[in-house]
Symmetry: C2
Subunit: 274 residues, 2 copies
């Protein structure tokens, strides 16, 4: 791991660093915020997964997470959203390829050589974070925005022992039925839709629960509601009596102004459960 930058923030430290990823077979950049409490010993950690077109940087600079992470004594970690660089496949569209990894392990050409974001977030990246930072990896939660909310939900529902608390902001909630999903799952996983179901939060929720409660925030004026399909997830959670809080916020859109407006509740949600 190589530290690229280090800034004092809210009494703690904001790091940007990079490392060579085995899973993605390329260099990956990421950001870590350590709250002041980390100087006294390992702190719990919240993984924040970002959305389409984002890097490690968007949420680090625009989500306003650090102030609350410092107050509640929890680290927040911002991985990138895909492999990147020369030699890594890409697409002209904003919603496929670099910046749009969709948190799956691609099996199809030309993506399979690098696009292993599922394994990266589930295994390699947390192991790196645990080894390099004063973090208690047994106290890890996960959240995310949009495509990152999809990643957070599908990863935590699949690995609840690893991600012990869960929330999401305006997640892509039902990608097998959305143009934010069908295109990418077909490209990365191939045409067999049986392979897609493991990456659809609403379908996962309908077939299995999550052992803790879940917080979902959604903007009521989100311009992408028809792509996000939050009603499918709301139905699935309520139908199985999954403990949860679902909030539809009047007038908020899909931007980071929405994320920043509710991020304190998410930081506190995870800090209270970890």
């Amino acid at each position: 791991m190589q530290v690229i930058s280090e800034n004092r923030a809210f009494g703690g430290k904001q790091f940007v660093a990079k490392h060579l990823s085995d899973a993605c077979n390329c260099e990956m950049t990421f950001a870590v915020y350590l709250p002041p409490q980390a100087e006294d010993g390992p702190v719990p950690v919240l993984y924040y997964l970002s959305g389409l077109t984002c890097t490690h940087e968007n949420a680090m600079t625009k989500a306003s997470a650090q102030a609350w992470a410092a107050e509640y004594g929890i680290a927040v970690v911002f991985p990138d959203t895909s492999p990147r660089g020369e030699g890594v496949a890409n697409d002209e569209a904003y919603d496929l390829g670099q910046g749009a990894g969709f948190y799956v392990n691609a099996t199809e050409a030309p993506w399979a050589a690098h696009f292993k974001m599922w394994d990266y977030i589930a295994e390699e990246f947390p192991a790196l974070i645990d080894a390099e930072f004063p973090i208690n990896g047994t106290r890890a939660g996960i959240t995310g925005h949009s495509m990152g909310g999809h990643g957070a939900l599908t990863l935590a529902l699949t690995y609840p022992d690893q991600f012990k608390s869960l929330s999401a902001l305006a997640p892509i909630a039902n990608p097998t039925q959305s143009d934010w999903g069908k295109k990418q799952l077909a490209a990365y996983l191939g045409p067999d839709q049986g392979q897609w179901a493991a990456h659809d939060a609403s379908l996962l929720m309908a077939t299995q629960g999550y052992p803790s409660d879940i917080l979902i925030d959604q903007g009521g004026a989100d311009q992408f509601l028809e792509l996000l399909r939050p009603a499918s997830l709301a139905h699935a959670m309520t139908e199985r009596a999954q403990p949860h809080v679902m909030r539809m916020h009047e007038g908020y859109d899909h931007s980071y102004f929405f994320v920043a407006s509710v991020i304190e509740d998410h930081i506190r949600w995870h800090a209270e459960r970890l």
Copy 2:
């Protein structure tokens, strides 16, 4: 109106009274809690509609509402759940007839002579409360539990100018598809299911919104989940981006222990919006 009892409670006053109802064509008993702030002038009011088998008394004694009503300066009013008395039709079942008015205007024999709970709650009863108590009727909200949650939702969705804030606890959310609904709507309104839709919160939500946000609380261990059908309402609210908060609480059942556990949030919800 005749006052039956008056008790000091949390610095305010708990009344039980009765009056002769034109709508229901019988004597109706009800309870009103006035917070201490009512001594200084009219206060906003929250109507609390109760569930199957309840009278005005259940929520008055078991919901723990008065402490919070006093803190937030809002009156809470508890009407009965049906007409009662000799000469009023009844049924041996607990879920039809007296104690089970379902907040509709019955059109079918033998119910039509007295069972006009829709008109009673929407018109006659608030007019009485406004006239007899130091209450500002232009600042009225509505909530309820189970069958009362059904009444609160359907009345507020139909008369949003009258009921300006709305919440519900474990409401019967989709009665046209439930055995808590089909039997009663058929008995009171007749077999034409076209008449039923106006009394189904999920169907109303799908066709029209509510101009303020809505709070719904549901126990995850509620023994009547299959009859309440909260997933239908969750889906309808989310699908139309209705501003709302839906909370599924792990381990809580359908009892007043659940109601009492979350009532503060409902009192505060209404007080902040009225």
